[in-house]
């Protein structure tokens, strides 16, 4: 497979207390493609995604073994600066979480944290990322209005723009369309498809139809185990493992 993959997961095991959630997961995530992690609820999809930008650090009683390499740096190495790891990944959560500030400030938030102070530079970033997220035309006249007044679909695209503004290498989506109406879901899916030209995209979903629409690469998780993974076309056409077959046919969900 792809040797140069810049996000590699090796023997990752995670447990909450004495409850194992992920068991020995190893996966090379292909660059500049959409990798979709599918599986029934409680299979560990979201945990896997959150482990990629160390959001599990703040969880009580979590035990993480194994390695995740981003550009050959193990992000769980104690010497690694956690904010730098997170800056490399943009996150879209299930329910869009805009920050309690204006639309402009939402997007400028990340760049400001990382030292961009110049107003013109910030304005340029805001415009560029809002365009990339397909939101510019709808909000260009009210950039300084509260982000909280946007519709949920617009909020999710704002979150996408906000994530892009810190110039990540990887975009993580945790069921990013589950709170959206069909129209907004389609827009977010289209944005993700467009963004894979420049970014490595990883999306968690439990909607198989969505996986079929957007996935280049599929990873199927079941009860904390990575059962099967490979190019989407191959996996959908001929799943090898009986559990994958059962999941695709709707016997387990």
């Amino acid at each position: 497979m792809n040797d140069a993959s810049h996000l590699r997961i090796r023997d990752l095991s995670i447990s909450f207390g004495d409850q194992p959630v992920l068991k020995n997961v190893s996966l090379d995530v292909p660059d500049r493609k959409i990798t979709v992690i599918v599986g029934p609820s409680g299979c560990g999809k979201t945990t896997l995604l959150k482990s990629l930008n160390r959001l599990l650090d703040s969880v009580d009683d979590v035990h993480i073994r194994g390695h995740i390499y981003v550009d050959d740096d193990d992000i769980y190495d104690p010497r690694v600066e956690v904010t730098r790891v997170r800056k490399k990944m943009g996150l879209l959560s299930q329910k869009p979480q805009v920050l309690p500030m204006s639309i402009f400030d939402n997007i400028a938030y990340g760049p400001r944290l990382h030292g961009v102070r110049d107003r013109k530079a910030l304005a340029a970033i805001v415009e560029r990322e809002l365009k990339a997220a397909g939101l510019w035309d709808e909000v260009k006249d009210r950039l300084h209005g509260p982000a909280a007044r946007l519709s949920v679909g617009q909020q999710q695209r704002l979150c996408l723009a906000r994530g892009l503004a810190v110039e990540p290498e990887i975009i993580l989506g945790d069921e990013p369309t589950s709170a959206l109406d069909p129209q907004s879901s389609r827009i977010v899916e289209q944005r993700l498809m467009a963004l894979k030209a420049d970014y490595t995209v990883i999306v968690v979903t439990h909607i198989l139809r969505q996986a079929r629409r957007i996935a280049d690469y599929i990873a199927f998780l079941y009860l904390g185990e990575l059962v099967e993974h490979g190019p989407a076309s191959a996996i959908f056409a001929a799943p090898r493992d009986p559990r994958t077959q059962a999941y695709f046919s709707g016997e387990i969900s």
Partner: protein, 285 residues
């Protein structure tokens, strides 16, 4: 007949709710009414523009400007100091101690215990510390003591609001590369500002109305304090002293002072509400 019984239950509960609401509203109106009616004969402009001229507590001329300003200085100072002390406590148990929930539980418990300590005990404690440090009754000693009294009230009230900040919002900020401090200051505080303001208001009201904690610590004087080391008069004590005289016209002045104190709290509450509405603009629901 289950149906009839349940219908009666509904009626009885409704009646009980009306009675208790009426009791609360009635008490409020009766307190305000008593204060205002008893205060009316004594209310005049001198009262809020002049300090006591000799013999004020025996019915001679003057006003309670010394106590009005003393109370405002004292309660504002104490509220600011309590804010400076409680913000780090509350932010730490809500954004930093996520790894050890047990610590947060303990801190909350201690704050609740402090909340329950009677204000006369704070007053006595403040007095002991004061004499140990060689301080005299002063505005500073009063501010320190009242700040201690306000601290648990403010901290717990803020804690209840900051706890409501969704953890996904904190994650969102973290995943943009913010440190915990940046997240706490720029996102958590911003989201909880209206609640923090309310917490400050509750604490301010408690602080400005408390007599026992300032009795030994702030002292009492006819002069308006011009530095932190001078003693300061306060409205609750002015009310207390005036009510304790044998002169009816001085006791009327006590009610007038109470009316002024109530009015101050009302004005501060209204101002805080107006400000809070402005701050609500960006809040995420």
């Amino acid at each position: 007949m289950g149906f009839r019984r349940r219908k009666w239950e509904e009626r009885i509960v409704r009646a009980l709710m009306l009675v208790s609401t009426g009791l609360v509203l009635g008490s409020l109106l009766m307190i305000l009414g008593t204060v205002i009616i008893k205060a009316l004969p004594a209310i005049n402009l001198d009262m809020i523009t002049k300090t006591p001229q000799g013999g004020y507590y025996m019915g001679k001329a003057g006003g309670i400007l010394n106590a009005i300003l003393g109370s405002l200085y004292l309660a504002s100072g104490a509220t600011l100091l309590a804010l400076l002390l409680s913000l780090p406590i509350v932010l730490s148990i809500n954004t930093y101690s996520l790894r050890s929930k047990a610590w947060a539980v303990q801190v909350r418990f201690f704050l609740d215990v402090l909340w329950g300590v009677p204000s006369i005990v704070y007053g006595a404690f403040g007095f002991i510390v004061m004499t140990l440090l060689g301080l005299r009754a002063s505005l500073l000693a009063g501010i320190l003591t009242v700040a201690l009294l306000e601290l648990p009230i403010m901290a717990r009230a803020m804690d209840e609001v900051i706890r409501l900040v969704p953890s996904a919002l904190i994650d969102a900020s973290a995943s943009l590369g913010a440190t915990r401090l940046e997240t706490a200051l720029r996102v958590v505080l911003r989201q909880s500002l209206p609640g923090i303001l309310t917490a400050m208001l509750i604490a301010f009201g408690r602080g400005i109305g408390d007599a026992a904690s300032v009795l030994f610590t702030a002292g009492f004087t006819d002069h308006i304090p011009t530095s932190l080391t001078q003693p300061a008069a306060t409205l609750p004590l002015a009310i207390f002293f005036q009510l304790g005289t044998p002169f009816p016209e001085v006791r009327e002045r006590a009610y007038a002072s109470a009316a002024v104190l109530t009015l101050i709290i009302l004005i501060v509450s209204l101002a805080a509400r107006a400000l809070s509405r402005k701050l609500r603009k960006h809040i995420i629901n």
